[in-house]
Assembly symmetry: C2
Homo-oligomer: 111 residues x 2
């Protein structure tokens, strides 16, 4: 159940262009909330909601030093998405293998 | 912009355990709405909303024959998620390479 909820949160976090833009920017290295907000076309409070959501799902970490809050990507967190996708892919490959075996068995010379 | 909206829809579709369960089941092969709904713990109209959302994002195809609607996974659709993840991963690797070059340059014997 915990993994289900984790996936819900992470996929939901990725379902928004502002949040994906933050992830994309942080892929190049840490940045302050101010820098990140400067690239977004919304008010700071609206932008902060996106930052908080990314943080709550564990996709980013943030830390405050004086008046500056710095955000950093938590790459490991992307594993929940990648593992889920890999799991689906394994199912598809197993199915392809089964179909292949079926076709070979059906076309083998019955004599 | 079109790709942005595509990603929004696909990630949102994946942010729900019922919809992920449908995708998981269809990974083993096509199934009727009736079969799929039997595994879910909700009314058929509620379940159909999930099916329609998966169909609208292109993650599944459905076709009606008589009274039976059959659902099939559209594996190609997962490429939008995989491409986006691969794009982020490339950024991270470029950053690691830059850091590595920086560390090597900083530690090289200056004599």
């Amino acid at each position: 159940m915990a993994q289900y909820l984790e996936l819900d949160g992470v996929f939901l976090a990725l379902a928004d262009p502002t949040r994906r833009a933050v992830i994309h920017r942080l892929g190049r290295g840490p940045a302050s909330v101010g820098e990140l907000a400067g690239e977004a076309t919304m008010t700071l409070p609206s932008f902060m909601k996106h930052v908080r959501m990314l943080e709550s799902t564990g996709l980013i970490h943030t830390a405050k030093s004086g008046r500056v809050r710095t955000c950093e990507l938590n790459r490991e967190r992307f594993a929940v998405v990648e593992n889920w996708l890999a799991q689906q892919r394994r199912l598809w490959e197993e199915r392809t293998d089964r179909l292949e075996r079926f076709v070979i068995a059906s076309t083998e010379d019955p004599t």
